[in-house]
Every structure is written in C-alpha cells, then in structure tokens.
C-alpha cells in the first residue's frame, strides 16, 4: 500500500525520499534499522530515528488506546490532527499559511468581494481533492453545491486540463524512471468526479444539506463539500432574523458533523457586505455575528493594490497571516510577484 507512507505526519521531503527509496508501506519500515534507513535515504541518523519513532507510534495508535469506546485522549487527538489530510490550493504561499491546505474534518469559510476568485478557488479545490495518493493527494471526489449559478463547466475543464498536465509532470519528477503515469486521466474523468448540485432556494439548500449524510454514506469517496455560496439565498425574504439565525446555525452544525463523521473537508464560500456600525459603513462577511462562530476556520480574500491576497481571519490552530495568490488561466497559482521576488533573489546571488 503506497498510501500508508503518505499518512505519516512527516515532512514532504522525507516522504518523497522514503518513496523513491522504495519504502512505501509501514511494514517495510517496521524491521529496518536506523543506520540502514539513514543510508538508504541519505539523511542523518537522528532524522531516521525520528521517522522510525513516528512509524512505531503510528502502529500503536492503529492498535487503539481509547479507554472508552468513542473516547479519545488528547494525545490521540493531537496525532489525528497531525496526520489530518489536507487539500492543496495549488498556491504554495496560500498552502503555507493554511498549514498545508484546506483541512479535512473541519469547516472552512472563505469570503471576499465579487470577482476576487472565490468560485475559482472552489473549482480548484474540487479538482485538487482528486490528486492521487502517490502524488500526495486524497484521491477523493467533491460535492459542489452551486447556489449562484457561477459554476461554468468550460472553466472547470480548463482547470482540470492544467491539473492533468501538472500531475503528469510531477509524476515524472517523482519517479525519475520512464514508468508512465499509471492511468491516463482525462478532463472528462475529473468532471465526473465532481457531484454538482444546483440549488435555487434556501429550502432546497437546507433539504440538500440534510440529505448529504445519506449521499456521502453511499459515496464514501467524497472528501470535499463546497457550497458556493452559502449566503446567496439567505439574503432575501428573511424578515425574521432570529429564524434565519436558527436555520443557519442548524445548517452549520450538520455540516460540522458531516466533516467529522466522514473526515471530509467542508468549504463554505461567503459574500462580503457593508455593515452599518456607529454611523459608518464597514466591510464584513455576510450573515452576521452569530454565523461567524459557525466555522472552524475563516479566510478572507481581498485586493492589495493589483494583487489578490488571502488572510487567515480566524482559526484555532493557525496563526493569522496573509499571503498573495493569483488567478490564472490554469487556475489558482502562486502570485506573480512572489515568483518575481524569488527570481530576483536568485539573480542577486
């Protein structure tokens, strides 16, 4: 099983070295000595000890320590968090501030003004969740719930085709031999792994979210649920704001449970609104204050001059930071200026 090594909470370089040296399964690591591993991987002994410590820890966790069935110790939880799978955004700096990407088992809210790239990021994630395990991905499927009608198939196809090219190249880089990529993926296959639902009212939206539990039980390979946007249908016809708050919080709760139960990532896209406070208009994410407690992580996308930036507004585990990103023909990518910066640094060396 190649996937086993990918589950280890070790750095990507170490993982890459393990795989290229042929250590793909946990059992292949269980009997190897420290010095042998260090030599095979061309790393220091202490690094090898560290890897083996993680491997043995992993084995014992698999055996299960829980005192009460269903209960977890904080140590187990920490371990679980470390090995938590993430979905890359295809922008290194954005991944960096997100701690590796959008995390599974959590609800992440992403908000920003129209045209900043929320839908683009949503589509990119729906494609990236399909990255095969030998390239460090989840090989999952995505559910895309479109409430606004901005999901354009031609755009998804563009991003999917760029993704296929990138994966082929990464594969060649990872296994320097001539071994061809195991299966020829096509844009069509990527589209077929996205379950698309178009929702035209808030009642439909609530009904669909209630139905997701059943749908995901039948489609266990779903690793990502995107709602683009969670807001749209809740900004009309709600004279009773208390009712809106109740409906929204029960929806958020369901999504949170879904994320935990099936260890999948939930991404909610939100709009920006002007809020009237103390005599002036200020920008904030829509749906009000009580909603802002509903998500585990909150990311705000904004313009900084001519550049797009993302900012971690709220997260229990990430520090608040911001990073530039860009929207290109191929999808979400590193920002142009950060490429320029690194080029400049190289040329000045």
């Amino acid at each position: 099983m190649e996937t086993e090594v990918w589950r280890l909470p070790i750095s990507a370089t170490q993982r890459g070295k393990l795989i290229s040296a042929g250590y793909t399964s946990l059992s292949s690591l269980s009997s190897v000595s420290t010095s042998l591993l260090a030599r095979d991987l061309n790393i220091t002994d202490s690094e090898a000890i560290e890897i083996l410590r993680v491997v043995s820890g992993k084995n014992s966790v698999d055996g299960g320590h829980a005192i009460v069935k269903g209960g977890q110790s904080a140590w187990d939880m920490l371990h679980e968090e470390e090995s938590m799978r993430r979905i890359t955004t295809s922008c290194a700096e954005l991944d960096n501030i997100l701690g590796g990407g959008i995390s599974c088992r959590e609800v992440t809210e992403i908000g920003g003004v129209p045209g900043i790239g929320k839908t683009q990021l949503g589509i990119q994630l729906a494609v990236n969740v399909q990255i095969p395990p030998h390239c460090g991905g989840l090989e999952g499927k995505a559910i895309y719930i479109d409430t606004e009608g901005s999901f354009m198939v031609e755009r998804v196809l563009q991003i999917a085709e760029a993704y296929i090219e990138d994966m082929a190249e990464y594969h060649r880089f990872l296994y320097k031999d001539s071994r061809a990529s195991p299966v020829e993926t096509q844009g069509k296959d990527i589209l077929e792994s996205i379950y698309y639902f178009r929702v035209c009212s808030y009642t439909e939206q609530i009904a669909l979210i209630n139905f997701l539990d059943k749908f995901v039980s039948e489609h266990k390979d779903v690793k990502l649920v995107i709602i683009d946007s969670v807001t749209f249908h809740f900004r009309q016809d709600f004279d009773d704001l208390a009712l809106r708050t109740r409906v929204l919080s029960s929806m958020a709760l369901k999504l949170m449970q879904l994320a935990k139960k099936f260890s999948l990532a939930v991404v909610l896209l939100n709009q920006v609104t002007t809020k009237y406070t103390e005599g002036s208009f200020q920008l904030s994410l829509a749906l009000g204050d009580s909603w802002s407690h509903s998500c585990t992580n909150r990311v705000i996308l904004y313009w900084n001059g001519n550049e797009r930036y993302a900012y971690i507004d709220k997260s229990p585990s990430l520090r608040s930071a911001s990073a530039p990103f860009s929207v290109t023909g191929r999808g979400i990518r590193n920002s142009d200026s950060s490429c320029k910066r690194s080029k400049l640094m190289h040329s000045s060396e």
Binding site: V113, P114, G115, T119, Q120, I143, E148, G149, S150, F151, M152, V153, E154, R155, V156, K188, L191, E192, I194, Y195, Y196, F197, R198, C200, S201, A207, L208, F211, F215, T231, F232, H233, R235, Q236, D237, F238, Q271, V272, T273, T274, Y276, F281, L283, W303, G305, N306, G329
Partner: protein
C-alpha cells in the same frame, strides 16, 4: 436529489459580432446573469437590442434559435432603433432566418418599479412555460435594472437593507428561471460618479479593474456591493471623447471629436480580463479588431 451531469457545455448567445464574442468567450452564457454597466449614451440599449435579434439565429450561427423578452424600465422603448437594426440584421442573415420579421420575435414589456417586477415574475414564468411563440423564449433583457431603484429608496440603513433584500429576491428568481428554461439573462446598470478616495465604493475594489473611467470621469456601477453579489458576470462599456488626430482642427475651425468606446470584462467566473474597442454604426454595434500597431494614442 441527484447530482447533475457536467458533461454538457454551457450554451452561449452571440452578440452579433465575432470580435465582441471572442472577448466574452463566445457570447452571453445561458443559465446565468450578465450585467452590462455603462453611463448613458454608451450603447447598452443598442447592444441589448442587437442581442435580442442575434438570439434568433440558429446555433450554427452562434444564436439560440430563440425569441426574447425585453423588459424596459426607461421610456420610451426605442422601437425606431430596433426597426433600423432589424432591417440590417435581416439583410445580413437572410439565409439563416426564415422570412419572418425579426421584430416579431421580441416581446416587450414595460416595468415601472422593483415591486412590479417581482409581481410579474409568475406571469413571466407561465409565459416561458406555455409559450405559444414560434421560437421558444431563451433570452431575458432588463434595461435597466438601476432605473427601478432610482427614486423609491432613501440612503438610510433601513432602506438600504430593504433594497438589498429585493435585489437578492429578483436575482434568485431570475436565476431560477434561467436554470429551468436554459435562458441567457442580461441586465443593464447605470454608473454613478465616484466620490472619495481609494478604490471603489467605500474603498472596495470589485473585479479586474482598480477603477473605471468613462467620459474622463471616475465612475462606479450603481446599486453598490449588494447588487454586485447578485450577478454572475459584469461587463463595462466606457466611452472617451478624443480629438481626431487625422482630421485635427478642420479648415472650418471646428475640432473634430471622435468617441472611442471600449468593452471590458470586469468579472466573470469563466473569463479572464479582456477588452476590445467597439463602434456604434447605423447597422449595429461592432467590435474593432485590435491593430498590431497602435496608430494613435490609445486610451489605455
């Protein structure tokens, strides 16, 4: 509930000009709302009229083989201009159309207020569903949506809230119709002069362009941020008066002015930033092929 198949491409409706179509990735997409925003006299209405005609073309010519519903909120409806355009349209596409008068396939309805628009939505729906028209209706134009909100609402927090709730109600209804009847929906919007500093309204930048200019003034789309959340794509038409450098100052002492018009994609889920210059002629609105060598000072 079942997921939908994604293997069908989104249909597009031609604007009646290959240059502008290329700029918009093939035309106006079905199943979503496209906004055309511009100051008055920039060609919004003319572009909408031309679109209503082009929609009648068969898919082989980039159209939808469809008739259209034109909701106008500004008076009077420009029937004379429509007639003019339809005559040249008919002579241009004689083979593609069967010999009907193209104006017969454009249904016109006047709307006076936002509430009235919401009230007639069920009527529109039944018109679309039991259409006894020769061609099915697959294009709705609202020209302009801004005029519906011009007078009734005060600039107070309460009224703004009520106003944005109506925006979302209108948009949701239009999107639902667009989806069930596979419609292209086009709305036009006006601009307001930009007051203040920074980017956009209240310092908010929306879309590709940090700032929009038309007739030498800095402008921003009317109806604010809430409305911008209600549309899928936004296209901006700008105009700039420039002195015609060829004619220069004529012998009669007059300065010859030339209007340079430009169409820009402000935001769209399926398009990168792109723009093209266009002209308005007697026979319609046409994009200008970008010249390899810019001969005289471009307005970029």
């Amino acid at each position: 509930m079942k997921p939908e198949t994604l293997l069908l491409p989104t249909e597009k409706c031609t604007l009646g000009c290959p240059v502008m179509d290329r700029c918009l990735g093939g035309g106006i997409p079905c199943k979503s709302i496209t906004e055309i925003v511009a100051e008055s006299g920039s060609g919004k209405t003319q572009l909408c009229l031309q679109l209503s005609l082009s929609a009648q073309l068969p898919p082989s010519h980039g159209g939808l083989s469809a008739s259209s519903l034109f909701l106008h909120t500004e008076f009077p409806f420009p029937s004379r201009r429509l007639h003019q355009l339809s005559v040249s349209f008919q002579s241009l596409h004689r083979q593609a159309l069967n010999n009907n008068n193209p104006s017969d396939n454009i249904f016109v309805q006047s709307v006076h207020s936002a509430d009235q628009l919401l009230d007639i939505m069920p009527k529109i729906e039944s018109f679309l569903a039991n259409s006894r028209t020769q061609l099915p209706v697959r294009l709705i134009v609202i020209d302009s949506v801004a005029a519906l909100f011009r007078s009734e609402f005060e600039n107070t927090p309460g009224d703004l809230k009520r106003r944005s709730s109506i925006f979302f109600a209108i948009s949701a209804k239009l999107k639902a119709l667009a989806r069930s009847f596979d419609l292209a929906v086009v709305v036009t919007n006006q601009v307001v002069d930009f007051v203040g500093s920074g980017e956009g309204v209240n310092g908010v930048r929306v879309g590709n362009l940090g700032s929009l200019y038309s007739s030498g003034r800095r402008v921003c789309p009317a109806l604010g941020l809430a409305w911008a959340n209600c549309i899928n794509s936004r296209v901006f038409l700008s105009r700039e008066e420039t002195v015609n450098s060829y004619a220069g100052r004529g012998e009669d002492g007059y300065v010859y002015m030339q209007t340079r018009r430009r169409l820009c994609v402000v935001f769209a889920p399926h398009l990168p930033y792109s723009s093209c210059e266009f002209v308005i002629r007697r026979d319609g609105v046409f994009g200008v092929e970008p010249q390899v060598q810019e001969d005289h000072g471009s307005s970029r």
